[in-house]
Amino acid sequence: MGFSHIEYTPKDIVFGFSKRSLRYGTDLEVGNGLVVPEIKYFPRVEKNVIEEYRHITGQLLKKAVALGTQNLQLETELTYLEMEDKKLVGELVNLQKSMIERYAKEYGLHVGYRVTVADIRDFGKPKHDEESFIRMMDIFELVSSNGADVLSIESEGGKELFNYSIIRQDLTGIVTSLGYLATFDMKKLWKNIVSIARNKSVLAGGDSACAFANTAMKIAGGLKDNMIPHSLASIVRVMSACRSLIAFEEGAGGPGKDCAYENVYLKMITGYPMSMEGKSSAVAHSSLVGNVIAATCDLWSNEQVENIKLFGGFGPEVFLEILHYDTKLMNMAIESGMQYCLRDLMIKSDKFISPQAFVLSPDVVYEIAEVIVSEKDELSRTVASAIKAIELMAVEEKLNLSKGERRFMEMAKKKLEEIYSSPALKVEKALEQYEGKVEKLRVKDYLEA
C-alpha cells in the first residue's frame, strides 16, 4: 500500500512520457519522450526450439534495420513446455541476448529484452504446488543471469475462484478473488521476484491480470455479444488494477507488462513507464479499446503472433512493421509538440463506444485512481474502485448502455455497496461457501502464503 497519491493529471498523462523513465538493455530509453515498439512472438511448436528462436530473433533484428527502427523491445514469453527444461531456457535467453548485442553493436540499435515466466503452479495441489513455485523462481534467476533485462509474469493467484465467478456474474466471488486471495499471492510472489531482480541488477517489470481482466474482456466479446455485461468486464479491469498494483507496491519498477490493459491505472498511480497493447494486438486479442489504450503507453505491443509465413513475411516481421509505423506516428507527434492532440484523438475514437474503453480513458482513470489511493487496504480499494466505476458509467449518457447493462449495473452497485459495508466479514463468510463448490480452491494455502 505504498502509493498514496496520483502522479499525473488527466491533462498531462500521455504516451512516451513517464515520470520515472528507465534506461536498460543496449542503451534503450523508455518513458523519456519516445514510444518503443515491443514485439512478442510465439514459436512454431513443431520446430527445434533453439533454431526457431534464432529464426525469429534474426528476422526481427534484420527487419528493424530494414525499416530504420532504432529502438525496440523483444519479449519472450516462455511456454509451459519450455518451463520444464531449464537448460533450454538458459540457452535460448542467452542466444537471443547475444544476437541482440551483435546487432546493437553493428547498427546502433537500442534494444530491451523482456522475459515473461509462465505461472505453472497448480493451485489445487498442496501449498499451491510449491515445487512449481520454486521452479519459477529458479527460472527468474536463470533468465536474469542469461541476459533478460526485464522480468514479468502473468500470475494467477485467485483464478480458481475467478473462473467460477465470472461466468456467473458473481460479484462476491470476483471481489474475493481479485481483492483478497490474489493479494496474498501477489505479495508473496513479488517479494521474491523483486529480490531476485535486485540481486541480478535487472528490472522487475510487473504483472498482468491477463487471467482475470482479459478473460472477462474475451468473454464479453463484441458490441452485440451477450455473454457477460461489458460493464462487468469493465469493473473487472478496474479491480484488476488494484491487484496488479501490488507488484509495484512490492518494489517492481516497470516497464509494466504489455497485456495488462490496467496499466493505464498503474502509470497514473506509480509514474513508471508501461507497455500497452490494443489495435495492433488484434492478432491475439480482439478488443473494443484499440486506440484509447495507446493514449498513455510507453511501449506499444502486438501481444503475440505465431511465427508463421504470411504473404509479406513471417508473422513477427509483419507485426514489427505495423508497430513501427504506429510508434513512429506517436513519436513524430511528440517531436512536433502535437502529442496531446494525437492522444485526444485516440481517446475520443473509442471512449464512448463501450464501457470497457470508457474506464481506460485517462480522465475516468484519474477519478477512479483517486479512490484507489485513498482507501485503506487492498480489499476495500477493490470494492470502492468498482463502485466508483459504476457510478461514472451510470451517469455518462454518451455510453448509451442497453437495458441489460443498466439492470446489471444496478444490481452490481447494490451488491458491492453491501460488501463495502464490511468487506472482510463478507469475504470470509463467502469463502466458506466457495471452498466446497469451487474446484481446486484451497483458501488456507493463500492465507499462509
Binding site: F42, L81, D122, I167, Q169, T215, N226, I228, P229, L232
Partner: protein
C-alpha cells in the same frame, strides 16, 4: 424488473406459487425460488408440476430474453443453476422417478492445457440442454478420458484445447480410445480457440464446435439420431 409481480407474503394459490417460482428463476433470485418451492410443495404442487410449469417455463423465458439480447449468457447459466438447485429440493419427493436426461457427455481440457473457461461454458450449456455431463476438469491425460468412457459409458466425448502446443493431445486421446476398443462407442467433439474444423477432420474427430451454442447443437443432433 417491472413485469414480475412482487409477491406478497399473504395467502397464495398453488398456481400463484408456481408462477412465483418461475419468476424468481427469471429474476435469478435463488433464495426466493427456494422459499416458493417449499411453499408450493406444501400447497400440494407435485414435483412434476414444478418442473414443467416453473422451472421449464422460467428457463424458457430466460432463454428468450437471452436471444433477444436482454439477458446475458452468464444469466442463462445462473438460471440453469437455480433450476438445478430447485430440482435437488424436489428429489426426495420424486421418489425414484429419475430426471430424464437426453444423453451423457464426458468432457475435459486436454493434457498440458489449463484453459478451462470455454470448456466450463460448454459443460454448463450441455447441462442446461439436459445432458448428463461428467466434467473431468483441465489438464486431463488420455488415460483419464479412456477410464471415464469405460466407467461412464457416455454417448459423447468432448475435448477442449486453447494452445497450439496442446492441441496434438486430442489426437492422442482418440488414439487411446481406439486402442482401448472404445472409439466406435462414442462420438467425439472438439473445440477451443486453437482448433479448427479442419483439424477435427484431420485427427478423426466426429465434430467441431466453434462456440458453445454450436457444440450443444451438434451434440443434440447426435443423440436425436440415435
Amino acid at each position: 424488473m417491472s413485469d414480475i409481480p412482487s409477491n406478497e407474503d399473504g395467502e397464495m394459490s398453488k398456481e400463484e406459487l408456481l408462477n412465483a417460482i418461475r419468476d424468481s428463476i427469471v429474476n435469478l433470485d435463488f433464495d426466493k425460488s427456494k422459499e416458493y418451492t417449499l411453499k408450493a410443495l406444501e400447497a400440494g404442487a407435485t414435483p412434476q408440476e414444478i418442473i414443467l410449469k416453473s422451472i421449464a417455463q422460467g428457463m424458457e423465458i430466460v432463454g428468450k430474453k437471452f436471444e433477444e439480447s436482454e439477458y446475458f449468457l452468464s444469466e442463462l447459466i445462473v438460471a440453469g443453476e437455480i433450476g438445478k438447485e430447485i430440482t435437488k429440493i424436489l428429489e426426495p419427493y420424486l421418489k425414484g422417478a429419475e430426471m430424464k436426461k437426453i444423453g451423457k457427455v464426458v468432457i475435459g481440457t486436454v493434457r498440458g492445457d489449463l484453459h478451462d473457461i470455454g470448456k466450463n461454458i460448454v459443460a454448463m450449456m450441455l447441462e442446461a440442454a439436459e445432458f448428463k455431463v461428467i466434467d473431468l476438469g483441465a489438464d486431463v491425460p488420455p488415460e483419464r478420458f479412456v477410464e471415464a468412457v469405460k466407467s461412464e459409458n457416455p454417448d459423447i466425448v468432448g475435448m477442449s484445447a486453447l494452445l497450439t502446443v496442446t492441441m496434438v493431445e486430442m489426437k492422442n486421446v482418440i488414439e487411446a480410445l481406439k486402442e482401448a476398443g472404445l472409439r466406435d462407442k462414442v462420438k467425439v467433439i472438439i473445440g477451443g480457440a486453437a482448433v479448427t474444423e479442419d483439424y477435427a477432420k484431420n485427427i478423426g474427430a466426429d465434430g467441431y464446435g466453434a462456440n458453445a451454442v454450436e457444440g450443444v447443437r451438434i451434440c443434440k443432433q447426435w443423440v436425436s439420431q440415435k
